[in-house]
C-alpha cells in the first residue's frame, strides 16, 4: 500500500480499516499522523453532529402523523362514501370527483396536524407572535393579507402533505383558533369539522383553501370570516 492508497482508505471511513493500513502507518509517520488527525477531528465532530433528538419513539411519530384513533373509525362513513361514489359513477355523473373525495382525507390531515403540535393548543392568552416572524411566514407561504386578522399568537411554517404551509394561531376572547393556509389544497366546497372537541371549517379560497379550527364555534367562525376576507394567494 502506498501513501495515496493509505490516505484514500483512511478517508473512506470505518470499513477502510484493514491490516494493510495498520502496516503502512507503522512504516510512514506522516500517514500515521494524517490518520490520527482524522480520528481526532472525527472525535470532536461526533458530539457536535449529535444534536439532541426529540424524545419520540417511532410509535410517537407514527401516531402523531396519523389521524387519532377516535377519528379513525370513520371506516363506516368511508364505505358510505365509496358506495355513494360508485352510484354516482354508475349514473355517469362525472362531477367533482376530486373535490368530492378530497375533503375527507384533507380534514383528517388537518386534525392530525393540529394534534401534532399540542403545545400550540395551550398557548397563554397573552402570547403574541413577533410581527416580523408573521410577515416572514406569510411571505414565504406566498400569502398576503388584505385585512386585519386579529392578534396572532403564533406563526410558523409547517410541512403539511408535502408542502410548507403557514400555521397561525389567532387569539380570541374565547381561546385560540388555529389557521392553516393551504394554497395547494383546492377544495370544491366548505367542509365542516366537528371532531374530538374541535370545531371548524375547511374553506375554499381561490386556488387553495384555509383550515380554521378551534374549540368554540362562534370564535372560530369569526376568525374564519376574517381570513376569508383577508387572504390573497397572489403574493
Amino acid at each position: 500500500m502506498n501513501c495515496l492508497e493509505f490516505r484514500k482508505a483512511v478517508a473512506s471511513g470505518p470499513a477502510g480499516a484493514t491490516p494493510d493500513i495498520a502496516e503502512h502507518a507503522v512504516d510512514c509517520p506522516l500517514c500515521a499522523k494524517y490518520a490520527a488527525d482524522i480520528d481526532a477531528l472525527n472525535a470532536r465532530l461526533t458530539p457536535s453532529l449529535s444534536v439532541p433528538a426529540p424524545d419520540r419513539t417511532p410509535a410517537d411519530y407514527i401516531s402523531d402523523g396519523q389521524t387519532p384513533l377516535t377519528i379513525e373509525p370513520v371506516a363506516a362513513p368511508r364505505r358510505w362514501y365509496a358506495l355513494a361514489a360508485s352510484l354516482v359513477a354508475a349514473l355517469g355523473l362525472a362531477v367533482g370527483w376530486r373535490a368530492f373525495l378530497m375533503p375527507d382525507s384533507l380534514r383528517e390531515a388537518v386534525i392530525a396536524h393540529v394534534y401534532h403540535e399540542p403545545n400550540l393548543l395551550i398557548l397563554p392568552s397573552d402570547a403574541r407572535a413577533d410581527q416580523a416572524q408573521v410577515f416572514k411566514v406569510l411571505k414565504s407561504s406566498h400569502v398576503s393579507l388584505n385585512d386585519d386578522i386579529g392578534e396572532v399568537a403564533h406563526a410558523g411554517l409547517c410541512l403539511f402533505r408535502g408542502n410548507l404551509v403557514a400555521h397561525l394561531v389567532v387569539s380570541t376572547g374565547n381561546g385560540s383558533v388555529t389557521v392553516l393556509l393551504l394554497p395547494d389544497e383546492k377544495v370544491g366546497e366548505a367542509t365542516s369539522i366537528n371532531e374530538e372537541g374541535f370545531v371548524g371549517t375547511i374553506v375554499p379560497i381561490g386556488k387553495g383553501s384555509i383550515a380554521v379550527i378551534g374549540e368554540e364555534a362562534e370564535s372560530t367562525k369569526s376568525v374564519e370570516n376574517r381570513f376569508v376576507h383577508a387572504v390573497d394567494w397572489s403574493a
Binding site: 473512506s12 477531528l41 457536535s48 449529535s50 439532541p52 426529540p54 417511532p58 401516531s63 402523523g65 379513525e72
Partner: protein
Amino acid sequence: MSDAPVYSGDKARSARFNLLVGALAPDLFRYAFWLCRDRHVAEDLVQETLLRAWRSLDRLNDEAAAKPWLITTLRRENARLYERKRLEMVQIDVQTLPDEWAQGPGPADDLDDLRASIFALEADYREPLFLQVIMGYTTAEIAGLMELSQAAVLTRLFRARNQLRDSMKDSNIARDAVG
C-alpha cells in the same frame, strides 16, 4: 403515546417496525436536521419518512436494508420539499443554530464553535460528513446514497474537514486574543 391506535393494531407488525427503526430514529432526526437545518422541519421529515416506512413495512424484507432505505426516503422527502418550494424557504428560521443546541457535553466553547461551523458548511459537504461520522458509512456507501462518484464524495469530505479545521483555527485565534 407508544400504544397509539394505528401502531397497536398489529403487535407483531409494530414490534417488527420498532426493531427496524427504533434505534435509528434519533440519528434519522439528526440527519434530517443537518439536511434542512430546522428542527421542526426535521421532525416533520422524520415523521413523513417513518410513515412511509410503516406503510411499506411488508416490502422491507431485508432488515439490513432498512437503514439505507430510511435515509434514501428521508433524502427524497427533503429534496421534494425544497424542490417544490424552492430554497427560499431555507431563509425562514433556518439560518440560526438553535441556542440550546449550541451547548452540550464537553467544553462548551469548542462545541459551540464546531457546531456553528458545521451549520455554516455547504449542504453538499455537511451531508457526507454526517453520513460518515455519525452513520458510519464508507465513501462507497455514501456515493451510492447520494448518487455521486466515490471520488466526488472523497473530495467533499476532504473539503468539509479542511473548512472545519480552518474555522476551528480562526475560533482558537479569536478566543486566544480575547483570553
